[in-house]
Assembly symmetry: C2
């Protein structure tokens, strides 16, 4: 059983850009486009411990993700969820996996690999159009 | 003087989809793609009083907007701002203006014109890449 609405699975399977909304410590929203991966249970993002977003999700693990179809931009899915874990990614393995998914050629692990982390998000509700 | 980073003005001038993040009454974020218009001072969205988003911005006027370039998806601007006013749009005039901006042909005002409103947002800070 998945929270993704029937007929919208492709928006999670394709290497599209997901607009990830988090809450800042001052209670205001923050949102920007991000790479992601979806395994049917979790949606995962790569980030580093030096970013504001890391501060945000540590203070408040509730997030929301908006993905629309570049070919039919009125067609979108929103997944609201909770950051269940923040996994370390010290070799940059998950970053490299995403880079490959998005067609970026790398010549080795990213320079910021020691700071790399993975947000592991379990969606709990969705909207779509 | 504008809050939009130099060289990113086109992302606000083109009829792109803006992912508008608001805060729900339970404190969790909500985000989805929307039409918008920008006049150099305010970013405006059309919505209706029957939508969850209306409830959200009435309770908490702090919002954030993420727009990326479909031609260079790593290029984006985020504008964080405050809903300064919610204007009524009982004839659907602003809705129709946006429909024209986005290339949608209408044969008259929208059926939900009596419920139509305009979020008038003043951006106070930005991020970009």
């Amino acid at each position: 059983m998945t929270i993704v609405p029937k007929g919208y699975e492709d928006l999670l399977e394709r290497p599209l850009f997901a607009h990830l909304a988090t809450i800042r410590p001052d209670g205001r929203p923050q949102v920007n486009p991000m790479w992601f991966a979806w395994d049917g249970e979790f949606i995962r993002f790569t980030n580093t411990t030096t970013r504001y977003k890391y501060r945000n999700v540590q203070a408040n693990p509730e997030v929301s993700v908006s993905i629309n179809d570049p070919d039919q931009p009125y067609r979108y899915v929103e997944l609201r969820g909770t950051v269940e874990r923040i996994d370390p990614d010290p070799t940059g393995a998950f970053f490299s996996e995403l880079a490959e998914r998005y067609g970026l050629e790398l010549d080795g692990p990213p320079a910021d690999a020691p700071d790399r982390i993975v947000y592991v998000i379990r969606p709990h509700s969705s909207s779509h159009q």
